[in-house]
Symmetry: C2
DNA sequence: GAATTATTTGACCGTCCGGTTAACTGGTGA
DNA sequence: TCACCAGTTAACCGGACGGTCAAATAATTC
């Protein structure tokens, strides 16, 4: 009943894009509405507040990226290849954004979490949830690699924590230096952390 | 000539504290003035803009912390002990802030850089500079450790990059999860990355 | 085609924002 | 002692902020 609309989806896409490339505090509700081509009244018809929109935008972004993650981390893929492919995805994604906007934009979840962890409990919890979803792919890959004797780690979960932290750190560093080239260190750092058995390049 | 004042220093301290525990965008010039007990007119007598104050506040914070860094990274200290002591400093500092404010607050430079890298060139450049100053301590320690055969790394500078990224990443993760306990991984992650020869615990 | 209801519209609200101004104050150096 | 000037004060600015609202509209269901 009633009419249908794609305004909600347009708002989610506009919000993710704008917040990702600047920051939560640096983007106004008006900015998002203009980009989405939607009136402010419609915004508040679909979302109770700016921070609720942000939470919904992160969820929508994840749902959009999930098939690609499932493909990269497919159990059809050898465990270390999953991680290497993922590094390549990050590098390519950031390089593309860098060409588009002139900036390394980093991880949208980590950016929001870092900015708002002490200020907005809902966004803090959501970004933690999003990062945890990514973590579970890494953990599974590392556990598989461990079982297959491809790496030298005692505790797969602990190693996965170390790996995901390093990825986050490298992304921040690349963002601050605005140099996507730093991301070529992603794979070697990861492999070193895992004590991966070297294979001929 | 003219009168003297400590308003500038009070503004620097208030700004650092407020921005560190919330965010640049989440703190207003009025907030900073109230905390410093200074009128807004005085603010703009000392600083041309909010972002200039932030840049000055980071510089002042570094100058304040520098003696402690020099002590930890003294060449009197064995290279790996420098790194271990530094991990302990970070852990203690973050735990203290967590008790004070109820939040893991992370690295002030990385927070600001992450929030503003795409929006404010002066702050981006300053945070990069600050992180680079820290980096040079790590690099020197790792180079010394390498010379003394304490670790297994080929390129000390590359290893230092990896280590500093991991520290940044772990701090972000601890902030997002609001759990200072994660920082106990600082030292093991670092040592694993460096291929440090194990010593009895 | 009428009733229903989700969506759209754009004007509106009070507040807070970063920043400005001009008059005033008081410590310092000569 | 007194002139000078760094520092202080508080009112003020225009515009942007997040959020509200009531009336208008159009798609859907029956």
């Amino acid at each position: 009943m009633g009419r249908t609309s794609d305004a909600r989806e347009k708002l989610l896409a506009a919000a993710l894009d704008l917040i990702w490339t600047s920051s939560y505090g640096g983007v106004s509700v008006d900015d998002i509405c203009v980009r989405a081509g939607v009136n402010k009244g419609s915004f508040y018809h679909f979302f109770p507040s700016k921070s609720d929109l942000a939470v919904a935008a992160y969820e929508a972004h994840w749902q959009e990226k999930r098939p690609a993650m499932d493909a990269v981390f497919s159990s059809q893929n050898p465990p270390l290849d999953r991680l290497i492919d993922w590094c390549r995805c990050i590098q390519e994604g950031q390089t593309e954004k860098h060409q588009q906007y002139g900036f390394v934009v980093g991880c949208p979840y980590a950016n929001a979490g870092s900015e708002l962890a002490t200020q907005d409990p809902k966004i803090r919890a959501k970004t933690q949830e999003m990062l945890d979803r990514g973590f579970r792919y890494i953990e599974a890959a590392i556990a598989d690699a461990q079982r297959q004797g491809l790496i030298d780690v005692a505790d797969a979960t602990a190693a996965a924590k170390q790996v995901s932290s390093c990825v986050l750190g490298l992304l921040i560093q690349a963002k601050i230096e605005n140099d996507p080239g730093l991301l070529s260190e992603l794979e070697p750092t990861m492999m070193r952390l895992l004590g991966a058995k070297m294979v001929a390049a």
